[in-house]
Amino acid sequence: MLASKRTKRLKAVKTMTAGKLDGKMAFDDTYANAVGALPGANESWVDRLRQTSRAILGAHGIPGPKTEAWKYTSLNAVANTPFIPATKVDDVDLSSLPLVAPFLENAIKVVFINGVFRRDLSDEFDGLGVGVAITPFADVLNTSPNSLKDVLGVFMEPGESFTAAMNTGFMEQGAVIHLSSDVQLEQPIQLISIGASGSVPCAFHPRFEIVLEAGALATVVESHFGLPGQPYLSNPASEILLGERAILNHYITASDDSDAFHLGRTAVSVEKNAKYDSFILSLGGGLVRREIKVRLEGDSAAATVDGAYGLSGNQHSDILSEILHLAPETVSNQMVKGVLAGDTRGVFQGRIYVARDAQRTNGRQLHKALLLNRGPEVDCKPELEIYADDVQCAHGATTGEMDPGHIFYLMSRGIDETAARALLVEGFLDDVVLSISDEPARKLVLKMVKTWLAKQEILTIGET
């Protein structure tokens, strides 16, 4: 049984909040009215959760540079785009879908287009076995909302980030994945969220709730991408609870269309001896912001929060990570590597917090960026906040250009300069990608990195 936490306050931890408002209203009444009645609106606590979230959005507006968590990432372009709710989009052309989709072989695929669940494009996921349930989020909210009462909005509080508040205020569809105690699901689940604006910019807010009871094991891959067209705003959120000894492999790939906005958040609670093993790959999108908060709540809970990003053109990528060690002997490992070309900007903000009674904690964080030319900018803000006295915590950050010695070494073996650069960039990212423990997911990410690199202009720009 999972502890009931809706009534019990979580251990108090200072969180990054949206902070001071900057004047602009987020998703004004026009948008809120157009959304209409959402699933679960009749259930008072669900309705209240949405209302609270929208009230936060209304009160604080879209955060600007005065908000610490948004110091390096401007949302002006989001604020200035007149989005409509994606459920109103009816002119989506899916013909190019098979060309861009990073499908995971052998996975149970659950497909969303503009946030709308598409059973016709998804694999059959009923009858996966005793103790395994995948259910459309809207169905759960309409038929059995109280089954989510101890999870939804508990581990991802609307007030903890703008991204969370926006998702929670407008959440409509998504998926609920539940594994009963000691159930081990071999087959990976792939949640596929596709953006396709058609003729009008649209916004969607898919919500994924993942609960693994004690001793359960699953692999969930979230793949976010899109089709060319008008800019869309993808605002997904994943709220995850891992019971004692549970293991979740959770890999996110974000390769949205180059005009798209992606503001996504993951919030995870890891109980005693449980393990959260994750990776974020960010390769696409005009503006990508991935937030992750991991709470290591129980003794010896462990998390790996790795990632890789590749930026070209005018892309902007921002990874915001908070890892909270709240119990003794908890372990976290984080390595994030980024490759930047063109006129791009990469941001990594990583905070490790160690509570007073989280003794014998081990936390490691490393961010490495590789600049392919003089255009990109990298902002890295590591923070260690330690209140226990017996801990091992380390963090490091490096930003540099490609080593001419490495290029020469490869060229001295007959490999031309462009190919040498490609090998080195791929190697730089693969160094962290290879740590993905699940083999099919690892292969998928390796392939996505290779495909991204095949865009030759990324490499030749570096020669100027």
């Binding site: 080593d403 001419p404 010695g405 490495h406 020469f408 070494y409 490869l410 060229m411 001295s412 073996r413 007959g414 490999i415 031309d416 300069e417 190919a419 040498a420 090998l423 080195l424 791929e426 190697g427 730089f428 990212l429 693969d430 160094d431 290879l434």
Partner: protein, 252 residues
């Protein structure tokens, strides 16, 4: 004309002249050794021949099979048959040794108008070559040189050389960091590659390596010039007497 002709080669690094007029002619199949004290320009010579940036040739020429080597990029030289075994092979995280070997081999094959090597053929080739050099086959799955011991790195260099089948191989301090067993393995690997079609230039501080790879000619490089040339007995003489005699002359 000799297969490789270095004529009056002057090279500066950061405005400082390191090589001050090297003259050296090597025929096909010959093994030449260059010996000299530290800081005398031995590694500079190896990098200039391989085409590394940052070395300014102020005078002189290098002809390789009649072509001007210095006008070629490093990768062109490699595909034409020049190979440098590095004193300190680079560690390249994330790039599997096998991926790298295949890329290098295919670059050469494309130059020769051959198709890319078949995956199975490649594996068989690597298996037989790693066995000859007593390299654990698992090593080629690891990132290039990362975490390799000194001996493993040098064996990997010889593996690359064997795979790329160069016509002119420069070995820069290949004996440094090797224990006696590794030295024997590496040397026998090099000796196996000796052929009438391949010329070696072996750069070393110590005579030790030359007991295993016996050169046809030995040259003494001091102060950026070749001050004496002879046969293998010169190496033994240097081992016994050191470089002091030449350095005194240089100073005078």
């Amino acid at each position: 004309m000799a297969f490789i002709e270095i004529k009056n080669l002057h090279v500066s690094v950061d405005g400082k002249e390191i090589l001050k007029g090297i003259n050296l002619a090597m025929n096909g199949g010959e093994v030449h050794a260059i010996m000299g004290p530290n800081g005398t320009g031995k590694s500079t010579l190896s990098y200039v021949l391989a085409g590394r940036d940052g070395y300014e040739v102020t005078q002189g020429t290098v002809l390789f099979d009649g072509k001007s080597l210095l006008e070629m990029e490093a990768d062109e030289r490699a595909r034409a048959g020049v190979f440098l075994a590095f004193q300190y092979p680079m560690e390249i995280p994330g790039v599997a040794t096998s991926t790298f070997l295949k890329a290098a081999l295919n670059a050469k094959r494309r130059e020769q108008g051959l198709a890319e090597i078949d995956a199975i053929e490649f594996l068989n080739l690597i298996k037989s070559k790693t066995k000859d050099l007593e390299i654990p086959y698992e090593m080629i799955k690891r990132p290039l040189n990362v975490g390799f011991s000194g001996g493993e790195k040098k064996r990997a260099e010889v593996l690359q050389m064997s795979l790329l089948d160069p016509r002119f191989a420069v070995l820069d301090e290949t004996d440094s960091g090797l224990d006696i067993d590794a030295l024997k393995v590496v040397s026998s690997g090099v000796n196996a590659l000796r052929s009438p079609d391949r010329t070696f230039l072996i750069i070393t501080h110590y005579q030790r390596l030359l007991s295993y790879i016996v050169p046809d000619y030995v040259h003494v490089l001091v102060g950026g010039r070749i001050v004496e040339s002879g046969d293998k007995s010169l190496a033994e003489l240097l081992e016994a007497e050191g470089y002091a005699r030449f350095e005194e002359n240089e100073a005078a």
